[in-house]
């Protein structure tokens, strides 16, 4: 079984790095770690980077997960190949671009591009935001799935993800104590549905709501509160229509052995207990 430890980074293609940088710094509040000719590395916590834009097609989207060591990486490659996944062994140069020691790349059953990485770099200097959004770190992703039941099997049986809760057939899955690191979303094609950053407090969620409204950033869902994880949230749209989320107060699963996934009905209150309705954003179960 492939032991995922944590989500590590997201890599996004974008035709317009200048807009991406503008949004990431003046709206989202990330720190520029490094600016290349065709790349932009961004920090959100003590890691060297958690988001990387490179000039290209915005449909190029990759999620990196950290695993224990290079032995595990070899085992994972063998497991995936045995299941018929094509595995790309990262070159030294590619690993440097990702600021990791080694990595492999493959596609999940839906076709999402996934990388497993070893020893992602941290920075000695703390993250210092460009705007006071209260970000404490990159935390999870929403991942498109053309068949959530099949993909749940992949993430929980081939990998070590556990289902924390379900909304309809949609699993929220954890790879450590945090309620979820991967949230599947039913969609017609592969892709990252949203990128989550945690913030310090409720105040930060609400402040950002007013701040982003003033900046004319489309708010697509919230402010609200998920009854599943307990998190207070705000979803908004960034460059290339990528959706970003701020949230605070995600539950931790305290007892791994006795936790049973709860079943929530597929209805609006399961997504927001305050009464917010999504607009301009696909629901996890909608066949958009």
């Amino acid at each position: 079984m492939i032991q995922l430890k944590d989500v590590s980074y997201v890599r996004l293609g974008s035709p317009d790095l200048e807009s991406a940088e503008m949004f990431a710094t003046s709206c989202l509040g990330l720190e520029i770690a490094e600016r290349g000719k065709k790349t932009l590395y961004l920090r959100s916590d003590d890691r060297a980077h958690t988001l990387c834009y490179s000039e290209g097609d915005p449909r190029q989207q990759t999620v990196g997960f950290e695993i224990e060591d290079e032995d595990d990486l070899q085992t994972a490659a063998a497991t995936l190949e045995a299941l018929g996944h094509q595995v790309h062994a990262g070159t030294v140069e590619e690993a440097e671009q990702r600021k990791v020691k080694a990595f492999i790349g493959f596609r999940d059953p839906t076709g999402n591009h996934i990388e497993l990485v070893v020893r992602p770099e941290r920075r000695g200097r703390r993250y210092f935001a460009t705007r006071d959004a209260g970000i404490t770190g990159f935390s999870h992703i929403g991942l498109n799935s053309t068949d959530p039941v099949r993909d749940e099997r992949f993430w929980t049986q081939v990998c070590n993800a556990r289902v924390s809760d379900r909304i309809g057939d949609i699993p929220l899955m954890r790879v450590n104590a945090i309620h979820h690191t991967i949230a599947l979303v039913r969609a017609p094609a592969a892709g990252i549905q949203h990128i989550n950053h945690q913030v310090e407090s409720n105040d930060d969620v609400l402040r950002s709501y007013y701040f982003l409204n003033e900046k004319r950033v489309p708010i697509v869902f919230g402010p609200g509160r998920h009854p599943t994880s307990g998190a207070r949230f705000l979803y908004f749209k960034g460059p290339d229509d990528m959706i970003f989320e701020y949230s605070v107060g995600v539950d931790e699963i305290e007892d791994e052995a006795t936790h049973r996934p709860r079943q929530f009905g597929f209805e609006p209150p399961s997504l927001c207990m305050w009464g917010a309705r999504p607009s301009g954003m696909a629901l996890p179960d909608s066949n958009a």
Partner: protein, 294 residues
């Protein structure tokens, strides 16, 4: 002398609100806002929000202009407060039996501050043996306090100081007044006219503030400001358009000030001081930082 007697005023115990359309007002108070309707006498409709027998009454503008109730420590304190307010030149008279009955209190003096706001000093406001049971789950915990418009800030402040209130903080010339451990129960807002600005009801938490916010949006009830958070008191608020020109507010999380003496802080009259989340009121001049109002 105990510290309780140092502040003659012990609670803000009710608001009597004059409205043109009693029925529409009553529907808002119970069905929309979530108060419990408990009775009607002499054309005055009573509502509960907590363990007290009633905290809100709607009266007709044809007969009354409304008032707020300030509970004082005991009968002796009531007499002393009345004497001091009278001595300081504020109009005040003893309430008759009928007026006390309408207010569900044992004794009262009816005063006016310098702006002309009617303020009832009362003792022994009625409690209820049955718990508060609203018709809608708005999460109301208690009637917390009021905001008052003032056209004579200094004199109105003197009125409240006689009752033992202290200024906890200033935002421009807006004075937050403390009478117990809470940062404020009364706030005086300099305005063009006198009258009650808002009645504030504490709810259980942020969840209820936000749920009520979406509830009101869906029903197209006008949100005058919020969800927001006062910088000085840390209180989360949602100000709603109530019946007539009244404002009903849900609040939560106001700072509790300890016993330690502290000096009032001065905040600038800016939108940031009025809401540190960034909400702005477009409709209520008292909630806005407008140039020249300082």
């Amino acid at each position: 002398m105990s510290s309780a007697l140092a502040s003659l005023a012990t609670s803000i115990c009710y608001v009597r609100l004059a409205v043109r359309d009693l029925d529409a007002g009553a529907r808002f108070a119970s069905d929309t806002f979530g108060l419990q309707r408990v009775g009607e006498q002499d054309g005055e409709i009573a509502f509960r929000s907590d363990g007290r027998f009633r905290t809100v009454s709607l009266v007709s503008t044809e007969t009354e202009s409304g008032s707020i109730g300030v509970e004082v420590w005991d009968e002796a304190a009531l007499e002393r407060a009345a004497e001091q307010l009278g001595g300081a030149g504020f109009p005040i008279r003893r309430a008759n039996k009928d007026e006390c009955e309408r207010r569900y209190v044992e004794a009262a003096w009816l005063a006016k501050d310098a702006s002309g706001n009617s303020i009832d000093l009362v003792v022994r406001p009625r409690q209820s043996g049955r718990r508060y049971f609203p018709s809608r789950d708005a999460g109301i915990v208690q009637f917390q306090g009021v905001g008052l418009r003032t056209i004579a800030s200094a004199r109105d402040l003197a009125f409240w100081k006689i009752l033992g209130a202290r200024v906890s903080d200033w935002v421009g010339d807006i004075a937050y007044l403390q009478i117990d451990e809470l940062h404020h129960r009364v706030a005086l807002y300099p305005a063009e006219r006198s009258g009650l600005l808002y009645s504030a009801f504490e709810v259980e938490g942020l969840d209820q503030i936000m749920q009520n916010s979406y509830f009101m949006q869906e029903r197209q009830i006008k949100i005058l400001q919020g969800p927001g958070r006062e910088s000085a008191s840390q209180q989360i608020f949602l100000h709603l358009q109530g019946p007539g020109d009244s404002i009903f507010s849900y609040v939560n999380g106001m700072a509790v000030l300890g016993e330690k003496p502290r000096r009032p802080r001065q905040f600038s009259l800016s939108n940031e001081s009025l809401c540190n989340w960034g909400s702005v009121s477009t409709d209520v001049p008292e909630f806005r930082a407008v140039d020249g109002r300082v």
